[in-house]
Symmetry: C2
Subunit: 213 residues, 2 copies
DNA sequence: CAAATTTTTGACCGATTGGACAAACGTTAG
DNA sequence: CTAACGTTTGTCCAATCGGTCAAAAATTTG
């Protein structure tokens, strides 16, 4: 994907490519734990192992780093939803989607928190994207789900809120990780918590809480 | 609840009580939308309609405002979970809990976002509370839920993750409100979205997605 | 009333912030 | 070697930050 903010792809040397990656990696770490305003260029520069003016040689403004980060994030973030399609068994498809989202929460918690930070503060930088690209994608998948309901493959319910609930429950394990670990305690809060969560979510979304029989 | 940070309850004049409330109300608005570091004393002072030194006459440090806000928040925030008890039908109890939490997301979105901001950034100020008071409460309620499972009143599953999923799905409508409204669009994103969410969540938690029959 | 106390404010301070800039350094091409 | 170009850094700046302070204004008390 080309940089949306520049008309033509800027030519970059090998060093520029590498250093920009280094900065973005460091900035992801810093932004995701301190928020945009809570992070300083010095922090990012130090995490990237370079001086502040050197960092500003690769990204002219603090906002440019954040913007680049958000653009990359959104592409990978919505990939699981894009994969949800009509072929295959509906319940299996949804199960896979839930599993993929939970894996992303486990493997990319910093990206999840970066996104959560942005939304929490009113999404000032990505509002058009939410109402545009994201809404279009969700509407499209909601229609797929509606088709499954009409065909009697899954229970009739609100597809949009279904998608919200999948987002909420899976991202919770990234965004609220400290709380989850604190409540589960040292015994159950270890690495196994994601498998426990996967089992629980599968049961919740498929069967609910009503006892069988 | 008495102020945990001061040994004895400080005596306050009528003006002090009123102005402190005014400041806390303004600070809730500012902190919940900008985070702690993203908020300035000037912003809060302006929102409260007073000068910065005047504000600092009532709260000596920025952190004191945030601390007072968090203490109040936590008490009311956990009230719905405290109400969950053994008397009454289990499924009805859980339904009520979900409804109460969703109502809190609707009526106190700023408190929800303030809390989310704190957790997102690693809960630096309330970590002991999470591992202490909160964990104790959740463990206790998890045992209640376990009892229901043993009695065959609800399906067997992980009570802790059940509670997490209720938190996640309900608070999502406060914390990710902009995204929810953007995706639902002007038609369905209006005031009715909370009733739609309530209907959906009830169905999800009780019956899941598997088609009937 | 007057004295004592509480409340409010303008001016100010040191620290931190995002960012500019020119000079120094390193690398590559002719 | 040298000129050109890409990279790095020390220094600096204006704005903003949290917070202080003394004095003025308002209020309460006797």
């Amino acid at each position: 994907m080309t940089d949306a903010t520049e008309g033509s792809a800027p030519r970059r040397t090998r060093i520029q490519q590498e250093k920009r990656e280094l900065i973005l990696e460091a900035a992801l770490e810093v932004f995701s734990t301190n928020g945009f305003r809570g992070s300083t260029i010095d922090q990012i520069a130090e995490a990237a192992g370079m001086s502040k003016p050197n960092l500003l040689y690769y990204f002219r403004r603090k906002e440019d780093i954040h913007e680049t980060l958000m653009e990359r994030l959104l592409a990978t973030w919505l990939a699981p939803l894009r994969e949800l399609d009509d072929i295959g068994d509906p319940l299996t498809e949804l199960r896979s989607y839930i599993r993929r989202k939970l894996e992303m929460a486990r493997d990319f918690p910093r990206e999840s928190r970066l996104f959560a930070n942005e939304i929490l503060q009113g999404a000032p930088r990505i509002m058009p994207l939410l109402a545009g690209e994201l809404k279009t994608l969700v509407d499209e998948k909601a229609n797929v789900i509606k088709g499954w309901m009409r065909a009697g493959k899954i229970a009739r319910t609100d597809p949009w809120h279904l998608i919200f609930s999948i987002w909420a429950t899976t991202q919770h394990y990234a965004d609220f990780d400290v709380q989850v670990r604190a409540v589960l305690g040292p015994d159950r809060g270890g690495d196994g918590r994601f498998e426990d969560a996967a089992r629980f979510l599968e049961q919740l979304f498929i069967d609910g809480l009503k006892p069988k029989g």
